[in-house]
Amino acid sequence: MFETVQYEVQRRQRGTIALTVGIAAVAAFFVALFPSFSGSGIDIDQMLEAWPPALQEAFGIETLATIEGFLAVELYNFVWVIVLGLYFAYSAASVIADDIERDRMDLLLSLPVSRSQLLFEKVGSLLAPIVLINFGVAIAVYASILAIGESIALSRLVMVHLLSVPYLLACAAIGLILSVTVTRADVGKRLALAVIFVLYLLDSIAATVDGLGFVRYVSPTYYYNPTEVLVHGTYAIGDAAILLVMTTVLLGIARSIFVRRDI
């Protein structure tokens, strides 16, 4: 058990660390920008109110005057919801399709490992970067907030990261479905990016269009709301549970496709 997880995690080690350091640096940079933002004397929130509601919704903008509101917009709604959502969908789209396309799958399946186990271990190995990035960046954010002399409720910071895990897993599961379906890895990866982005747009647009609200329920982005967590301290545990159920169902579908498929 877990030989494949171990192999895949080690193989991605460098990339994972580089990504963590990179995002931590971006986060620290955003935090460092905050004092000049809040100290500029302009009432930014008043200006934001003039923005179209769709845009406010899309970027989760409620306030930029507090460090929580600022981070929710600049870091979490952008880097977590969009960038990392895309990244993990993209990575998951490659786990099976790449091995098939690059002729590695033959050898892997000749090992005494069932297809289900191989599939779950491969996608499960993405948990390592998900956890490490969340952990590393949370520390960087907290440290840099203290460094600029601001403060943030630690519980909110922890929860915004914790609740992102089911979201990122759901994105990965969407990528995995594409990975076991397509014959060319490149197509799968691009489709994964497109699907996540379209779902994100659907969620943003449907939120402001009357009668279309139900469309939002299909998008994982609907169930992870950094602004709610950071600005209001509301933790939507039920939404996280929905994301986990969504992930489980998608993994089940991916499994049933992969075990039947001719390689």
């Binding site: 030989e3 494949t4 171990q6 192999y7 080690q10 193989r11 690059r102 002729d103 590695r104 799958m105 033959d106 050898l107 399946l109 000749s110 090992l111 005494p112 490992v113 069932s114 297809r115 075990v259 039947r260 001719d262 390689i263």
Partner: protein
């Protein structure tokens, strides 16, 4: 129980036939060669046997496990080694890391011993490997868990002649240790050297299943005669003479008749030199692939 038992196994992809009702067995401890040109269905057969794709119809058992029963096949796979024809590993990791990974799943009791015979640079990343080095790494992983059955698809492709020689010697030793070996090839001379039996595949169907000996016997002898006399037409008239060619003073033909008849015929001429040898396997193969191959390809092309 035979290590490999195949009954009426077929695999098609839509209208395209990959393999067509294959039936054969590989016996314990035998080296079985699976012969045919590219596109004959060798890889399809091997990949179906390993459960990588499901057969359209028919049955097969590998080490007693049905190839359509994943849990049976998984148990068998602990005792199977496999070397695919299109071999590839993750480029960024070292050969050692690949072997460690495979070893963690299936074991590696013979790794050190194999790395003395086949010498891929295991501390270097795979991306720096030549085709030959990758192939050697593939051979090491196929044998390192001391499997009872090893299935190899074109094992010597990419190996230089010296390493091919070493590989052939290695296979002979493995057979003596009792390992059953099933491999595909289109290199006839290598098959002849290491195989006990061969199955000959053409357009997805098995057209011959022979011991190497009978394959060679069927082919008769290749005779070359050097003579100043013009004897080509007389030779052609003899029983058991095929494919007569003459170049300069030499007449060459394939002979399946008795030596006495040949010698009494030749007594009449002035013979400078005579050479009787085993025919190359390529010639024998003309029985199976001969003249029909050409029209076949043409009809196929016409359909497309």
């Amino acid at each position: 129980m035979n290590p490999i038992d195949v009954k009426a196994l077929s695999k098609s992809y839509g209208d395209v036939v990959g393999i067509d009702s294959l039936t054969f067995s590989v016996k314990p401890g035998e080296v079985f060669g699976f012969l045919g040109p590219n596109g004959a269905g060798k890889t399809t057969a091997i990949r179906t046997l390993l459960g990588l794709q499901s057969p359209t119809s028919g049955k097969a058992h590998v080490l007693g496990a049905s190839i359509t029963d994943e849990s049976e096949l998984l148990e068998a796979k602990t005792r199977i080694g496999y070397l695919p024809s299109d071999l590839a590993f993750n480029e960024s990791v070292s050969g050692k890391r690949v072997l460690d990974y495979h070893a963690s799943i299936k074991g590696d009791s013979r790794r050190a011993e194999l790395l003395e015979i086949f010498t891929p640079p295991i501390d270097r990343p795979i991306r720096e490997y030549s085709t030959g080095n990758e192939q050697m790494l593939g051979i090491v992983q196929a044998f390192m868990h001391d499997p009872d059955l090893v299935i190899m698809d074109e094992p010597t492709s990419g190996l230089d002649p010296l390493k091919q020689e070493r590989f052939n010697q290695f296979i002979t030793n493995e057979r003596d240790r009792g390992t059953t070996i099933f491999f595909s090839s289109h290199v006839l001379s290598e098959v002849r050297r290491v195989c006990d039996r061969v199955g000959i595949l053409r357009d997805g169907a098995l057209v011959g299943l022979e011991t190497i000996e009978s394959l060679l016997n069927q082919g008769g002898k290749r005779v070359q005669i050097q003579t100043p006399d013009t004897i080509e037409s007389q030779i052609e008239a003899l029983d058991g003479v095929f494919s007569v060619i003459s170049f300069g003073e030499t007449v060459q033909f394939t002979y399946t008749g008795t030596y006495n008849n040949l010698i009494s015929e030749l007594q009449q001429y002035d013979i400078v030199d005579i050479n009787i040898s085993e025919p190359p396997l390529e010639d024998i193969f003309m029985h199976y692939y001969g003249s029909e191959t050409e029209p076949d390809t043409e009809t196929e092309a016409a359909h497309v």
